[in-house]
Symmetry: C2
């Protein structure tokens, strides 16, 4: 938890951006696995954490803009609870630590909202993503759960996005704590990966590592010898000599700030010559992209520059041909690089994704493209000092996509389908770092995790 002034200041700046009505914040609740009392690890809502700092379930809060009041709704534990749970801090004391004096019972929230509705005052709420909170909103607002999305407050979303997008120094410190955990996971992976083991035998240890360091993971780890499968939660494959492992993972600090780093590692500890060539193309694209990052540049342009460097590399490999600018403008590179270059990162690994990418990654000046590949870009708008973004280009050989495109001879002036055949089982390579946009340029966050070929091989050979 940060200092009391941090939370008061955040709420003050939020209030300055909103006109009137009630701002309603729902904290998260425990989330059941296979019966109500058997729950997943608790994760507080990030916007609730940002403005109210309290990291426990079953809370709500309001800011009454018209009367300039802040109230937290929640319940103290009963004496009976305390027999089972040990001594617990009083909610009133916790709220005081974040600058809130008024605490009411959970049961009072519905009444509070009802009275405001009766007076015709606007109730601003953010898009709910937990179904228990949808049911709660249905109960207190009288809007059917499946219609709630039509009633969310766009001004509230925009104000929250504006504030949360720019990270303070104390937030950067927390992100770097998450990256310390991430560093240790990656270094451990480089030591443990070897042929003959199943993916989960290593990834299990790595997940435990995050917890044994006092943190957790900011998202389900990707650990796969099939890096070309971009949405791949499974870790059942045998790791074999000659394969590459894509390890995309992020620690989460106790404060819940995220890290998100990808490395691609040779199972045997040494890259083949073919792997080196593709790897070098991805690394060059990542380096070029990071060098461009500074306030005022559009992230879409950084993405497109990375795509061009990738295309150059693919041309050198004989897999693409023709004019690079034309190929990228047409979207031909997306056969190999179908996802976006990166995303905002903060309290969420895809920061504020629950609030809508159209508000977080796009704005009135930058609209989403519908082109395959570019359409998946999560962040396109102009960067500002204080943004933290990921930079994660990749080259993948996706058999299903190659077949689809080859059948229609799509972009045949830019793609050498014949040459591609021998890369069919190559897999994929991605390299990702987390970058802070500074006043003059940018800074890669966290302790350096080796990404040069020689650096990785040196650690893995030991």
């Amino acid at each position: 938890m940060f200092n009391i002034e941090t939370y008061k200041d955040r709420r003050q700046r939020l209030k300055e951006r909103m006109k009137d009505g009630i701002l309603l914040f729902l904290g998260n609740n425990e989330s059941p696995m296979n019966y109500p009392a058997n729950v997943y690890p608790f994760r507080q809502d990030s916007t609730f954490l940002y403005f109210w700092g309290l990291d426990q379930p079953a809370l709500a809060a309001v800011i009454d803009l018209d009367q300039d009041k802040e109230i937290i709704f929640g319940d103290d534990f009963s004496v009976d609870d305390i027999v089972w749970m040990g001594p617990q801090p009083k909610l009133h004391d916790l709220c005081a630590q974040v600058g809130v004096q008024t605490v009411k019972s959970s049961a009072d929230l519905a009444n509070f909202i009802f009275r405001a509705l009766q007076k015709g005052r606007p109730i601003h709420f953010l898009p709910p993503y937990r179904h228990d909170n949808m049911i709660k909103l249905q109960e207190i607002l009288g809007i059917r759960a499946d219609y709630l999305k039509n009633y969310v407050s766009v001004p509230f979303i925009k104000a929250v996005v504006e504030l949360r997008s720019v990270k303070s120094e104390e937030e950067i410190i927390e992100i770097e704590k998450a990256l310390d955990i991430t560093y240790q996971i990656h270094l451990e992976a480089m030591k443990l990966i070897r042929p003959g083991l199943k993916e989960y035998e290593i990834s299990g240890v790595l997940k435990g590592k995050a917890m044994s360091l006092g943190g957790s993971l900011s998202f389900p780890m990707i650990f796969s010898v099939h890096g070309e499968i971009l949405h791949n939660p499974h870790q059942l494959n045998l790791m074999e000599k000659g394969q590459l492992v894509v390890l995309d993972c992020g620690g989460e600090a106790p404060s819940h700030y995220a890290g998100d780093i990808t490395r691609t590692l040779p199972v045997s500890g040494k890259f083949s010559e073919e792997q080196k060539a593709v790897y070098q193309a991805v690394l060059s694209a990542q380096t070029a992209a990071i060098e461009m990052i500074q306030p005022g540049i559009r992230f879409r342009d950084v993405h497109l520059e990375a795509a061009k460097v990738l295309t150059l590399g693919l041309k050198e490999l004989g897999l693409m041909k023709g004019n690079i600018d034309d190929a990228v403008q047409a979207g031909a590179h997306a056969l190999f690089f179908p996802h976006g270059l990166g995303h905002m990162m903060g309290l969420d690994v895809h920061d504020m994704e629950d609030l809508g990418e159209e508000y977080v990654g796009y704005d009135e000046h930058t609209k989403r493209s519908s082109q395959f590949g570019l359409a998946n870009l999560r962040l396109a708008r102009e960067l500002k000092s204080g943004f933290v973004v990921t930079v994660e280009p990749g080259i993948y050989f996706i058999p299903q996509l190659i077949d689809l495109w080859q059948q229609e001879q799509k972009f045949k002036d830019f793609i050498n389908y014949d040459k591609l055949e021998s890369y069919r089982h190559f897999g994929g390579i991605r390299i990702e770092d987390d970058v802070l946009v500074t006043e003059n340029g940018c800074r890669i966050l966290g302790k350096l995790i080796p990404k040069r070929i020689e650096g990785i091989e040196a650690i893995m050979q030991k």
Copy 2:
């Protein structure tokens, strides 16, 4: 996944127990952490797994009792999905593996139910515990999410409980796989625990261990030097010489069957004389309880016998006094042993807890007591061959509870409050094993994890 005949047979026996109407089964969906796409590890609903075997999100199934039809509702992945997720098995083929020929789209479920409702046919459904499924039931049944609990089908609950309570040989094999993982976690703990480390430094490694063995945990691990705090998800304490660690954890096999074992371990590797005396009382109670287990005995009587052995031990320590039978009948022992002796275990660690303890642990012959302590007994009814139950007595010194009782001089004829003062910071001890009720008696499941004082010290001293 078991053989096709297993699932067909389970559904057949369910049908024989139900009269008419539609049995509606909702599988679980992905569960969001901090935004919709960032999800917790998927956990299928256990009843869905039991009857339909399919371990993936976004499925539903019905048994139409009147027309003797079985239908699974779900959707295949699109070509676009497969580009991101790699080749996927067809739902029709998966369903065929569990003996179901009819597969319909998810979108057809609402229509199917609506037509049945129009014909006035009963729709049997189980108590929902996932809020997304509550919203789905609200949509398809027209019953407000918060009223659904009033409309669940008691005959359906009772039929499911009757079937799932008795474990087949192939289920026992799966439980023993979960116990293999549990064994390895406990043995690793005995090797790693030492003074000067934080709890999470070890518990993190242990959680990773479960995953690196290809499994997971059946519930959030308890790993605490404050064993007297019974509901304690935190692992932030420093482990110090002289303290005891309560480690209550269970592996979950890939099939999702559970294990659940508790050991209490000395941080230094050696128990003190005082700790040995309390430990021995708990171990004697556990041994006595296990020896009683056989078909036909009420688990409440096993619980009460364990309570008597604990009371005897507490008398020998000078902490209790008076007639043992009278003390236990009055509930005086519950100051030290406020929870129940155990619970059913199977696909859920507290098996079928979502269906209601009144149906799983109690029946028309055995009603729940309201006495403090005994009221918390999850399982009281008569045992049958094939039940798997946990046996987990404990002795705890809970300062908040001691203070409450001492203030009212509760059971002062049975409790020596003066003597208790020196045990105030003792902590707690619990010992738990998982037991199969056999034709003639019982069998402790899984490989033996040391629980005698000498056995534990021998491993921890190495």
